[in-house]
């Protein structure tokens, strides 16, 4: 039986790590939703786009090579250089900021004051658009992303736990670094929101658009900033997931995984996104481990949603969401 128990513990630990990755995606959602009330479905595609761009820049791919070749009959692929990971990450972050500006300038500036569902639809349109652009720019083949993060089983933990319990825990180095990076990112975000001028302005906008506008906060600037932040969070998530499973279309589907996390944690709470991510991560791994074999497996596809659904029936605003006060 202790063997079984250790397996369970290992499943929980790995679930926690997976939860951190979900939380990273959910974080991007929360940032945008809080500040602009936009439910940003394209967050997952943003992560995919960021990862594609990162790989493209690192390998020196020519953007739109496929398209150019098809139109002009040329045969170009690469510039023939390799950038170091850090420089490529910075360049990609710049691209994400530019994208944030474009999104704000060309889409959401025209949609101010529309109903939430219209904004939501616009982000779905954006998701399709970005997916297509990403594929045309960088090609649709599966790419390997390696920015120098350690990968594979962590030997130290394996040995230590073997000495202590007689059972070596399998924990991926990548998950550990993801957890550390996510923790650092969240700390920076919270400090930014609490102590900087822009961060306070962001919270003011989240609180009340009109009041913020009336004391001289530029909504336009804040929204561009928030989309940039979401883009950078997406970049981090894209690096993590991309290293884990390769840069490919299914990367954008992690957005769907982040939705139940959001429901559980509440759409407007940053801590909620983290806690929700952890609960979902552990919950679905445990469920798959304990119940999965009885019902034919692959329960991870839906368990998170059903958990969130059941949970919401009892607490409609999520764990940390703002209490919904309804008036006529």
């Amino acid at each position: 039986m202790p063997e079984q128990f250790f397996w369970g513990v290992e499943v929980v630990l790995n679930g926690l790590m997976a939860g951190v990755l979900y939380a990273l995606v959910a974080l991007g959602f929360v940032l945008i939703f809080k500040a602009s009330g936009i439910f940003n479905y394209s967050q997952g595609v943003l992560a995919l786009f960021a990862a594609l761009t990162l790989v493209g820049i690192m390998d020196g791919q020519v953007p739109f090579a496929h398209l150019i070749n098809a139109i002009f009959g040329t045969d170009i692929h690469h510039f023939g250089w390799h950038l170091p990971a850090l420089a490529a990450i910075l360049l990609t972050a710049l691209v994400m900021v530019a994208l944030a500006w474009a999104v704000q300038r060309f889409i959401f500036r025209h949609l101010v004051g529309q109903e939430p569902i219209i904004l939501f639809m616009a982000t779905i349109g954006l998701a399709y658009f970005l997916e297509g652009v990403g594929d045309i720019m960088w090609g649709a083949d599966i790419k390997n992303l390696d920015v120098g993060l350690p990968q594979g089983i962590n030997a130290t933990i394996d040995e230590l736990t073997y000495q202590w319990f007689g059972y070596g825990f399998f924990i991926d180095n990548l998950d550990i670094s993801a957890t550390l990076i996510a923790a650092a990112l969240v700390t920076v975000l919270i400090l930014f929101a609490q102590y900087t001028k822009q961060g306070r302005a962001m919270r003011a906008v989240a609180d009340d658009h009109q009041a913020a506008l009336s004391v001289g906060v530029s909504l336009n600037f804040i929204w561009i900033m928030v989309w940039s932040l979401a883009g950078i969070v997406a970049l981090v998530a894209g690096i993590m997931w991309g290293t884990k499973m390769g840069v490919q279309f299914s990367l954008s589907l992690i957005a769907l995984k982040a939705l139940p996390v959001l429901m559980l944690g509440g759409f407007t709470s940053i801590p909620g996104a983290i806690v929700g991510g952890l609960i979902i991560g552990v919950g679905e791994k445990l469920f798959e481990f304990l119940i999965g074999p009885m019902v034919g497996g692959a329960t991870e596809n839906w368990f998170a949603y059903v958990l969130a659904l059941v949970f919401l029936v009892f607490r409609p605003q999520g764990l940390f969401g703002e209490k919904i006060i309804e008036r006529v």
Binding site: F39, H66, L67, A70, I107, H110, L111, Q114, E115, P116, I117, I118, F120, M121, A122, I124, G125, L126, A127, Y128, F129, L130, E131, G132, V133, D135, I136, A140, L256, L259, P260, L262, M263, F267, V295, G296, G297, A298, T299, N301, W302, Y305, V306, A308, L309, L312, V313, P316, Q317, G318, I324, E326, R327, V328
Partner: protein
């Protein structure tokens, strides 16, 4: 000159309350029906039926269903694909369990089964609102697709995990299965579309529709003036799922013939139908048709232009299609957030005055 109310006097309440009170509108409607029933079946060929007409008609049914829930009752749903799958699998189980009963009855019954499932997943809507509900309906989507994949009873233990429609006839003509002629499949879908549109239009004009719209506009206020939110929301879920179930049954039985659940009824389908509803116009039956037509024709058109005319490689064209569809949706929302139906409404306002500017 064409679109006139002046001189069109109503002498009875029935005449005053009819669906198309303006004469020109009414005649246009009869003309469309006459063409659809009287001319198209004789000229339709396989390519047109399969590439354009059948998907258009079936998506129109699904879009009307979703429009009732989202456009009229204000409950955003992303579970449409899952509910279509319920309709398809219910129809399949009924077809194989009772081979002697008419397929038309099976399709309606499949709608009924879907309505029951829809009500079940609609129950949380009483507590959950807005985007929380939208995400909650994703639970239905993923759970149902998983269920149909994992429980062999639903696909009669077939080795491939697919469901394949056996041949069934209506009045001696095959309408399902590989031998069914295009015109028969088209006519079956057309009959259902007509009935669904008729029922949908009249439901939304009457007491029920007004209750839904009251809930949509402000649910607490609606409750205070005496609308029962439980009944209104659940009836919207039931009617919507009923239509979507019929669409799913037709999609499987009449259109595709063989279906793999994750591929045919995945999350993409839910989004596609939501797109149709929003591009067509929330809260409009005509909008459902317009949106379905737009999103069925657009890929066909793009494929013909990009691959056929420009000779691009098909994978590049597929990516370009994504860009164009996404871009168009955004442009559309920026230019006309209320959809094609609103454009039509504006056109009608102009037509009333034409040829005078005021």
């Amino acid at each position: 000159m064409l679109y006139r109310e002046a001189g069109d006097f109503k002498t009875s309440y029935v005449a005053d309350g009819q669906t198309f009170p303006i004469r020109f509108d009414r005649w246009r409607y009869y003309a469309v029906l006459a063409v659809a029933f009287g001319i198209v079946p004789f000229v339709v060929n396989d390519y047109w039926a399969n590439a354009v007409l059948l998907p258009f008609l079936i998506y129109a049914i699904a879009a009307i269903g979703l429009n009732i829930l989202t456009g009229y009752c204000g409950q955003v749903s992303l579970g449409t694909g899952g509910f279509m799958a319920v309709g398809a699998y219910a129809c399949y189980k009924l077809m194989t369990a009772f081979p002697d009963v008419s397929i038309l009855i099976h399709i309606v019954l499949a709608g009924g089964v879907t309505a029951a499932v829809g009500v079940l997943f609609g129950l949380p809507s009483l507590r959950i609102k807005g985007f929380y509900l939208a995400v909650a309906t994703l639970a239905a989507q993923f759970f149902l697709v998983w269920l149909f994949n994992k429980v062999p009873w639903f696909y009669n233990y077939s080795a491939s995990g697919q469901i394949t429609a056996p041949e069934r006839t209506v009045l001696g003509v095959a309408v399902t299965g590989p031998e069914a002629p295009a015109w028969a499949a088209y006519l079956v879908c057309l009959v259902f579309v007509t009935l669904v549109a008729l029922v949908g239009r009249n439901l939304t004009r009457g007491k029920q529709g007004r209750q839904w719209m009251a809930i949509r506009d402000m649910d607490i206020a609606a409750e205070i003036i005496g609308v029962n939110p439980l009944a209104a929301k659940l009836s919207a879920f039931a009617v919507s799922s009923f239509f979507i179930g019929i669409a799913g049954a037709l999609f499987f039985g009449v259109y595709l013939g063989a279906v793999e659940v994750g591929e045919a009824f995945g999350i993409q389908k839910s989004f596609l139908i939501l797109f149709m509803v929003i591009i067509g116009g929330l809260g409009s039956i005509f909008g459902s048709f317009a949106g379905a037509a737009f999103l069925v024709l657009l890929p066909v058109f793009l494929k013909n232009v990009l691959v056929g005319a420009l000779g691009w490689p098909s994978d590049l064209a597929a990516h370009f299609e994504l860009v164009i569809v996404g871009g168009l949706i955004i442009v559309f929302l920026v230019a006309e957030p209320h959809g094609l139906a609103q454009l039509w409404r504006l056109a009608k306002e102009k037509l009333r005055l034409w040829p005078f500017p005021y």
